[in-house]
Subunit: 160 residues, 2 copies
Amino acid sequence: MTKAAAATPHDHAHCIASALAQADTLCEQRGARLTKNRRRVLELVWQSHAPVGAYELLERLREDGLSAAPPTVYRALEFLMSQGLVHRIETRNAFVGCPQPQHEHEAQYLLCEACGDAVEIDVGGVRRRIEALAAQHGFTVTAQTIEARGLCRRCQPADA
Amino acid sequence: MTKAAAATPHDHAHCIASALAQADTLCEQRGARLTKNRRRVLELVWQSHAPVGAYELLERLREDGLSAAPPTVYRALEFLMSQGLVHRIETRNAFVGCPQPQHEHEAQYLLCEACGDAVEIDVGGVRRRIEALAAQHGFTVTAQTIEARGLCRRCQPADA
DNA sequence: TATGAACTGTTATGCTATAACAAAATCGGC
DNA sequence: GCCGATTTTGTTATAGCATAACAGTTCATA
């Protein structure tokens, strides 16, 4: 399985292991250097399905006993994003692991306001629809940010 | 006319005047207090169709000779957003005037990476499509952020 | 004109992100 | 294995974005 299972009970240790294994393979294939730091940051990002802030990652790194400053984290994140291993959640200034890094894609997210989890979805036609609408305005689209906030399955009010 | 004409030659003085007049009317109707500060900030936001940062607004306020600190601006923006007169552009940490404040709505934007202009669009079906997809994941959506980046009509490469 | 509510001023601070330069590790060719 | 070029990391400093907390003022209305 490669799909994230956020907002659903699951074996999260498996998520982490699988994400790291995929990262190893992909970077190997691409000749990209998944260094110790970068791999560690990726592992930390994957501690949960909720996006993590850069400074929180920094704290965790320091708990490892490493000397680390903000650029350490931001550079690792920059690399991970360039490899599609991590996505940035704009509305939260935070970062989350990508469950499907094999093929480059723009992520679209459902963000739970209760538990904080992020679920990556593929809205497919939506991207194209927006492009078409943009074209009507003479606009050429190169990138899209689509983030929806609300309540995930587990966080629905009891009377649902 | 109430539609913004960003990315298109137009009489911008009219945009500003019209936006302010609309704001006056709406606040009047709603019993909301469009104070001097708030009105001035709205006017500054409308100086162009490109989203403006809060600290840039702050500088402009100070040029007026006013004593002003960050909260002055952020509080005005908070009010203006609560009235739907201004929208926040998440991917830029900046703010832009809403050309259609009469009816509450979520804005969706095309952001030009060359000239910086923001064009508000109504993607209609897209919102519903995302809601439907979210529902498939057991997710209830309460708010959406949709921002597309690219090149506006005027900023297309010459060979187009 | 007294009173409570709303708005503004002011100071301080916290969070997010990057610039700039030095040092170290790594890779490829010899 | 060694060397030069390239990439990555360390370190310090600073820029940019946002809000907490509390005091003072203005406003609407009784």
